[in-house]
């Protein structure tokens, strides 16, 4: 009995110790982010004073106002959301491919899957100019589709879909087929609903990459009206006359929505990875 109680007490102490350590670690990890938020509310003079202040002494909303009234951040925000939405089409295509790799036996499956994995190893610098020329040939420069297309599918995501979908029982698919469901209907009504956890993972990954997209919006857009938030933020990085407060406000506008998406989806995300056989 006494040993049980000491055991429980020891375990309690351990949990508290770990909790404190993780709390400190979390604060350190999130510190640059918190500092960014703090600076976004500082007047310009305060943001360059030394020693630096951590909590704004005279908070102001001036910079957020500037972003959306004087600068075109409202439009950049809309473009970014549109790029993310187009990204979700890619999500569907990747789910389809992952499904085929997981549940069908067909000629060429092996080498096609090998190609999928090989794309993960290719440095982006290699593909930049050829990709641009292809998009230009397809007359897709200066369109939102052209911006989203090069990153629409990724080897990593197809791989994750495949890993997950191999765990779907084949009998369920057979049953659906016996009931006369077409292949696409089987995919839409059986496979996708069963893949909710991995879809949650992919939604977050797609959201992150679409939301932060910088290179392609920059290169493909020959019209500033198609810029995304990342490009708008880079524009604030003038060579000499920088305004840290304004930059941080813009950076905050970028990070906060994505943080909300993650917090909403995080339970499913962890589940998704768990079920995709990554153990």
């Amino acid at each position: 009995m006494t040993t049980d109680r000491t055991h429980a007490r020891r375990r309690r102490t351990l949990t508290v110790t770990i909790g404190v350590a993780l709390g400190i670690g979390a604060l350190i990890t999130a510190f640059p982010f918190l500092w960014m938020l703090g600076t976004a509310f500082k007047p310009q003079r305060e943001s360059v004073t030394f020693p630096p202040t951590i909590v704004p002494q005279a908070p102001t909303l001036e910079w957020f106002n500037t972003l959306f009234t004087e600068l075109d951040f409202g439009r950049y925000l809309i473009n970014t959301v549109l790029v993310v939405l187009i990204g979700f089409v890619g999500l569907l295509l990747m789910a389809m491919a992952g499904y085929a790799f997981a549940k069908f036996d067909f000629r060429g499956r092996k080498w096609m899957f090998f190609l999928v994995l090989a794309t993960m190893m290719i440095p982006i610098q290699v593909t930049m100019i050829p990709t641009y020329l292809i998009l230009n040939g397809m007359k897709l420069t200066n369109t939102l589709v052209g911006i989203a297309l090069p990153t629409l599918v990724s080897g990593f995501s197809i791989f994750l879909f495949r890993q997950f979908m191999t765990t779907i029982p084949t009998e369920m698919l057979e049953a659906a087929r016996l009931d006369g469901a077409g292949e696409f209907r089987t995919f839409w009504q059986i496979v996708l609903p069963m893949s909710k956890p991995i879809l949650a993972v992919q939604v977050v990954l797609t959201f992150i990459s679409g939301w932060n997209s910088f290179l392609w919006p920059l290169i493909i857009a020959s019209d500033q009206k198609l810029y995304t938030l990342s490009v708008g933020l880079a524009l604030l990085n003038q060579q000499l006359a920088v305004n840290p407060s304004l930059q941080m406000a813009a950076a905050s506008v970028m990070v906060i929505p994505i943080l909300i998406v993650f917090i909403v989806f995080q339970r499913y995300v962890i589940q998704g990875f768990a079920l995709s056989g990554l153990k």
Binding site: Q44, R45, V48, F50, E70, L71, L82, L85, I86, G87, F88, V89, L92, M128, I129, Y132, L133, N136, K139, L140, T141, N142, T143, L144, V145, W188, Q189, L192, P193, K196, L199, L215, L218, I219, A221, S222, D223, Q224, V231, A234, L235, N237, Q238, Q239, L240, A241
Partner: protein, 410 residues
């Protein structure tokens, strides 16, 4: 729950697809009467729109982030689809003219007298910036390097006037650096590749030999290296690469530095309380006089624009002295048209007078293809290796000579 997830995916997919299609069906406006597309660097573009509002020519201004100019220009050249007009830094001019990206303008100048090279200082117009014998750009803003000093701090340390020669500067910097720990006399930006060239010019030399080849193996360049590395050896300059020159000047940590008009504007804007405590003065002189850099940017017309006449009309408009002065009022960037540079109101500001006087003798960097990447980087690598890491001087310079051998302005 299943239903909602499914519905959500369906909606997102549908939205994405519709978007994809609508975006497909509306490609960029390519018709020959639409607004001109103008690429400007860094600025948010609103100032430029304001400037050309009175011209009656519709424009679409696209601001390109400074850090991404290379990707943007290279991909545009590769595909042949660029803007109608673009701002181009002098250091990139040769590269993009060689790539055929810029429309030769020689035949057009007769119809647009405002673009005549005679209207601009000789240092940047006509042959000074033509490539392969052709004029491919029109000077737009000018920029030069002068000496900025905190006269209050100099006076407090017994220095009555800003140094007029590099020797004086080096001696003064030593005195100022002796003010204490963390205090410096002068500041050398570690990314400033033109500075050693300005020093070489001031020492009476050049980095281009009589045949047009890049040549650093000259006595004048050796003197420039002595000066550059000597300032470090004296402990007069900060060694960290991320030193902020504006803040350093305002706080007095680095009370002397060579910079451009933007520094003056930055100090005036963010530290008005320092008015009267600092000034601009001519670049220190060497045996060759005070010869500074003519920097700034030009405007070019994209080679396959389908709106050549409108583009030229716009260039003509913004080359009018009134527009050039209006641009200075908006942004603090100096004009390039001679009559605007001589404007009495402009020169009533003593600092501006220093800039415009300096421009009279200033020179542009040699138009070597890819100057920044091929020469500038190597030059800084060699000098900074000597000054910062104590690398062997002769070996470092020999590497510089061999890396830049064979480059020429021809």
């Amino acid at each position: 729950m299943k239903r909602t997830a499914q519905a959500a995916i369906a909606v997102m997919t549908a939205a994405g697809m519709t978007l994809a299609m609508s975006a497909c069906s509306t490609p960029a406006a390519e018709e020959t009467t639409g607004p001109l597309t103008v690429w400007v660097m860094g600025d948010s573009g609103t100032n430029f729109e304001k400037l050309v509002a009175g011209s009656g020519i519709a424009v679409d201004v696209v601001a390109i982030p400074w850090d991404s100019i290379d990707e943007k220009l290279t991909t545009a050249v590769a595909s042949g689809s660029g803007p109608d007009i673009l701002q181009i830094g002098l250091s990139k001019l040769r590269t993009f003219a060689d790539a055929g990206a810029l429309l030769p303008l020689d035949d057009e100048i007769a119809n647009h007298p405002a673009l005549d090279p005679a209207n601009f200082p000789a240092g940047i117009s006509g042959t000074a910036t033509s490539v392969g014998g052709q004029i491919v750009s029109i000077p737009w803003t000018s920029d030069t390097r002068v000496l900025f000093t905190r006269t209050d701090i100099l006076a407090a340390n017994g220095i009555d006037s800003p140094p007029a020669t590099w020797d004086e500067l080096r001696a003064d910097a030593k005195i100022l650096a002796a003010r204490g720990d963390g205090q410096y006399g002068y500041y050398i930006p570690q990314w400033d590749a033109p500075l050693p060239i300005e020093m070489t010019w001031s020492m009476g030399g050049d980095v281009i030999d009589a045949n047009g080849n890049v040549n650093f193996d000259t006595p004048a360049f050796q003197k420039a290296v002595d000066l550059y590395t000597g300032l470090y050896a004296d402990g007069s300059v900060p060694v960290n690469g991320d030193f902020d020159q504006t803040q350093g000047f305002i706080s007095g940590v680095a009370p002397m530095l060579v910079s451009g008009p933007y520094l003056g504007k930055g100090v005036a804007d963010s530290a008005p309380e320092l008015d009267g405590k600092w000034q601009a003065s001519p670049l220190p002189a060497g045996d060759g006089g005070s010869i500074s850099l003519f920097a700034g940017s030009n405007l070019g017309v994209w080679y396959n624009t389908d709106q050549k006449e409108a583009s030229l009309a716009l260039l003509d408009y913004i080359s009018q002295p009134e527009q050039q002065l209006a641009w200075y009022d908006m942004t603090g960037e100096l004009p390039t048209v001679s009559t605007a540079l001589e404007d009495a109101t402009l020169n009533s500001d003593p600092n501006v007078k220093v800039y415009t006087d300096q421009l009279a003798t200033a020179k542009v960097l040699p138009l070597v293809s890819n100057w920044d990447g091929a020469v500038g980087t190597e030059l800084l690598n060699a000098l900074n290796a000597i000054a910062l890491t104590g690398a062997d001087r002769k070996a470092s310079l020999d590497t510089l000579y061999s890396k830049t051998a064979g480059l020429s302005i021809n």
